[in-house]
Symmetry: C2
Subunit: 116 residues, 2 copies
């Protein structure tokens, strides 16, 4: 078989075996399994684990943040809603008319198409 066991993967990536299971449960890196249920980490998974580690350390980000970003990536409705909310905030209040927010729904669906 071509792949590392969880402990070997832990050793070469700097995560602990415990954390590899945790990362998997968070839905971020899910290795294949042998028929017996053993995790086998291939080159792709190992690389993802290393870059994930960099990402978290370099930007001081939480696993749940990355998981949420993944959700944003797939749930277009959520993505549009969040972005619309944020954009409305970014605008300076002075320039915002009292009914500008009424465009929420239009903006949302417009952005849903343009952003993908």
């Amino acid at each position: 078989m071509d792949g590392l066991t969880i402990q070997e993967a832990a050793d070469t990536t700097g995560w602990s075996a415990r954390m590899l299971r945790y990362v998997e449960r968070a839905g971020l890196v899910s290795p294949e399994r042998t028929p017996a249920g053993y995790r086998i980490y291939g080159a792709a998974e190992l690389q993802r684990l290393r870059t994930l580690k960099e990402l978290l350390a370099h930007f001081d980000v939480a696993l749940s943040d990355v998981a949420f970003a993944a959700r944003l990536e797939t749930d277009m409705d959520l993505r549009a809603a969040v972005q619309t909310w944020l954009r409305a905030q970014a605008v300076r209040p002075e320039h915002v008319g009292p009914d500008d927010w009424l465009r929420f729904e239009q903006l949302k669906h417009q952005r849903l198409l343009e952003v993908v």
Copy 2:
């Protein structure tokens, strides 16, 4: 003065006064202050609070998630890094060459330009 005090804002938005201070500390809705330091919520803030409440409830999202999305919106470097990581995952492993991830840096800066 044209604006509601924190308790009035709480009453009309469904948040508690306590939570309005908390939301502010999370950097999501920051009302102006009177010279004496009293928070004054204008129409814009009230609407943001209502839509934020909808957002959290409807999508079962945490305040910290929205805060992270805001960070993604402004920190382009973080945004590019996260998106690159996610994209690499989205690709089916079978089609991924062992050195595809080496394009990380190029992808990152390319996306940095294209995504804004």
